[in-house]
């Protein structure tokens, strides 16, 4: 695995370091607290035991005097006991009378509880230096009594604490870094993968997708989002390519004709009539070219149109206007054009909807044979204004109905009826910007186009209208 960026700089790695650090601090605090509490409990217990032993001896002193205490100490030292205390009874000047401590500690003057290191004789007669904790009591006649306990385990405890702390910190640190590294490696691997896929995508492999695991974690969500973005780009690119191919074809055909015609005219050696004919025909081709470009721009404009400029418009009036425009043409072609309209107010652009209706009628008149009929109907239901334009022309086979919405798609390229195949694309685009729907169906025979415009609520709940349309 190759990393383009240093591991140390990755966000995942930084996160792992922080977590490890926090774990280390927390572990230290916990261990230290436990240590302090343990030592305190032990110290408190020892103090209580020592005090108990000392108070027994003080009691003895009250009844039997110093000699009694010395006797008691002597007995305690000779009898082996589970819990070893040490004792020292001295004269007021510090001279030992009885006990296993070699001398009265110099810095102890008054009664109290002390902690110190001192030399102690053991039962075998030798002496050793040990850590002790002792109760010092100054008795009535100046005699001094020291009763203590060995506190060697305090040092052992500290040692154990320190080693435990070290090992725990080491383990926590190692584990934290290990998991942090693994985790950051997953992150980096993901980034690497996405980056590589993105590079290939940019290089033209548009079907490339980021693999999605079954974990369903944030990485997978991100991968999914990226994949959907890629898919949308691929779709747009595809439709753009289809549009460009279509446009290139539609531009090239008349341009080639124009060129051929000019060359022929040139060969005609100034034949006036031939030239005039060529110019007239060329003009028709050029007009068609201009129209094509204009329609392309219109389509782009419609697709870019937002709903900001929308206002309440009378759909029936727009349809009636368009009908008035096409009626003479239909009549001339011997087509029976009839309409049934009800008043319908929708929110939209008069200009765009006018274009939609005109395109539908233009299509219908164009493809309906002489003697055929076109029926236009506008009615309302609860949510929609429905405009239906039905003809009994050749219709569109069900398999092709989606295809015709693409730009420049004509079902029959050799069709002599003209037009650049953008008509239904524009209708579809106008429909979409109005949050409407377009349904193509069979009129048995012929084409039935149903356009649905949402009634009213677009402005109040733009998103809502979207959802409604989806559902």
């Amino acid at each position: 695995m190759r990393f383009d960026r240093p591991v140390m700089r990755s966000a995942a790695w930084r996160g792992a370091l922080w977590i490890t650090l926090i774990a280390l601090v927390a572990t230290s605090v916990a261990l230290t607290l436990q240590y302090v509490q343990t030592t305190r409990t032990i110290a408190a217990r020892r103090e209580a035991v020592v005090d108990d032993e000392a108070s027994g001896l003080v009691e003895r002193y009250r009844t039997d005097g110093a000699a009694g205490v010395a006797q008691a100490i002597q007995r305690q030292l000779t009898v082996p006991r589970i819990h070893e205390f040490f004792y020292l009874l001295t004269l007021p000047d510090g001279t030992p009378i009885a006990g296993n401590l070699l001398g009265w500690p110099a810095d102890i003057e008054r009664s109290g509880f002390y902690r110190f290191d001192t030399a102690v004789t053991n039962t075998r007669g030798g002496s050793s230096r040990r850590s002790v904790e002792a109760r010092a009591v100054v008795l009535d006649n100046g005699f001094r009594l020291l009763v203590g306990d060995f506190a060697d385990e305090r040092a052992a405890l500290r040692e154990r604490y320190i080693s435990a702390l070290l090992w725990t910190l080491l383990a926590t640190g190692a584990l934290g870094l290990l998991f942090g590294w693994l985790y950051s490696r997953r992150g980096l691997a993901f980034v690497e993968q996405v980056s590589a896929v993105g590079q290939r995508f940019l290089a033209g492999a548009m079907s490339e997708r980021v693999p999605v695991s079954s974990r369903g974690d944030e990485y997978d969500h991100l991968a999914d989002t990226i994949n959907r973005t890629f898919a949308e780009v691929e779709r747009l690119f595809g439709s753009l390519r289809a549009a460009t191919d279509g446009m290139a074809h539609d531009l090239k055909t008349p341009l080639t004709r124009i060129r051929a015609r000019l060359e022929l005219a040139e060969m005609g050696n100034g034949d006036k009539e031939r030239l005039r004919q060529a110019v007239a025909e060329t003009r028709i081709d050029l007009d068609a070219l201009l129209q094509l470009i204009e329609d392309m721009l219109s389509l782009a404009r419609v697709e870019a149109a937002g709903g900001e400029a929308f206002a309440p418009v009378a759909l029936d009036a727009i349809v009636a206007e368009a009908l008035e425009l096409y009626e003479p043409l239909a009549e001339e072609k011997g087509i029976d054009l009839a309409a049934q309209l009800v008043p319908a107010m929708i929110r939209g652009s008069r200009s765009l909807i006018g274009r939609l209706v005109a395109n539908l009628l233009d299509n219908a008149v164009k493809f309906t044979p002489s003697g055929g009929k076109i029926r236009v109907a506008l009615d309302l239901d609860d949510d929609w204004a429905r405009l239906v334009v039905a003809d009994n022309g050749p219709g569109i086979p069900a398999a092709h109905r989606q295809v015709v919405l693409g730009r420049f798609r004509r079902l029959d390229e050799s069709r002599p009826s003209g037009g650049n195949g953008l008509g239904l694309s524009i209708v579809d685009a106008v429909c979409r910007v109005h949050h409407g729907a377009m349904i193509l169906s069979d009129n048995h025979p012929g084409l039935r186009v149903e356009i649905r415009f949402p009634l009213g609520r677009i402005a109040a709940e733009g998103q809502g209208a979207d959802r409604e349309q989806d559902g």
């Binding site: 007009d287 201009l290 129209q291 204009e294 200009s351 005109a358 233009d362």
Partner: protein, 224 residues
């Protein structure tokens, strides 16, 4: 006509100017908004052809400055944008007409002709007369000589427009804009059919044709 063309695109500018010169119109050419505004304010033109997108000073700003100075020279706006909103903005700023690119030279000529001559219209007239043809604007019917011609709504509007532009070429686009208020080409030959119906009523059998088709451009109503 003496015209001012404000257009930053060299090729379009030269092509339009040569075309206009060919037809005997003098045409000054300005390459940017500032130059255009200066020329418009210091010379007396019959009409100004003004591109919307200009360097230094945008076409709409030029138009607004011109109108603010009290200059009423007819202005034809050209635009590659050609959107409905732009059209409205252009006309609102004081433009007399609006022509989206790409346009045909014939279309440009017809529109120029229309905005230049529009100034001479008598306001408040109740009838229009061209030769023997009279249009009653209140009764919405026409009379050719002694013959009374009943007109349908759109036929009346078409004739009204043609008569107001008598002797000028009127393009199909101008008609769809003026009568149907469409800012797009409704396609095929819809306008032609309307004209031929109107023509059938106006030019009776044996009468000389008043409504003529101008090849590649549109129609013209002549006094005969």
């Amino acid at each position: 006509m003496k015209l001012l063309l404000v257009e930053d695109d060299v090729q379009t500018g030269d092509y339009v100017r040569r075309g206009l010169a060919e037809l005997g119109h003098g045409c000054d050419l300005a390459r940017d908004g500032v130059e255009g505004l200066t020329a418009a304010l210091t010379h007396d033109y019959d009409a100004i052809i003004l591109d919307r997108n200009l360097p230094h000073l945008d076409g709409l700003a030029v138009l607004q400055a011109l109108r603010a100075q009290g200059n009423r020279t007819p202005v034809l706006l050209l635009s590659a944008l050609g959107e409905v909103g732009d059209r409205v903005a252009g006309l609102r700023a004081g433009g007399d007409d609006y022509l989206p690119k790409p346009f045909s030279f014939q279309e440009l000529l017809a529109r120029l002709d229309a905005i230049v001559r529009r100034r001479g219209e008598p306001p408040g007239a109740t009838t229009l007369t061209v030769g023997h043809l009279t249009l009653d604007l209140l009764g919405r019917r026409a009379r050719r000589g002694d013959r009374v011609i009943e007109l349908l709504n759109k036929e009346f509007q078409l004739l009204d427009y043609l008569m107001r532009h008598a002797g000028q070429v009127v393009t199909r686009t101008m008609l769809t804009e003026a009568i149907w208020d469409y800012d797009f080409n409704p396609g095929t030959n819809v306008i032609d059919v309307h004209i031929s119906r109107l023509r059938a009523k106006i030019d009776g059998p044996g009468e000389p044709a008043m409504i003529r088709t101008v090849r590649g451009a549109g129609y013209r109503l002549d006094a005969v």
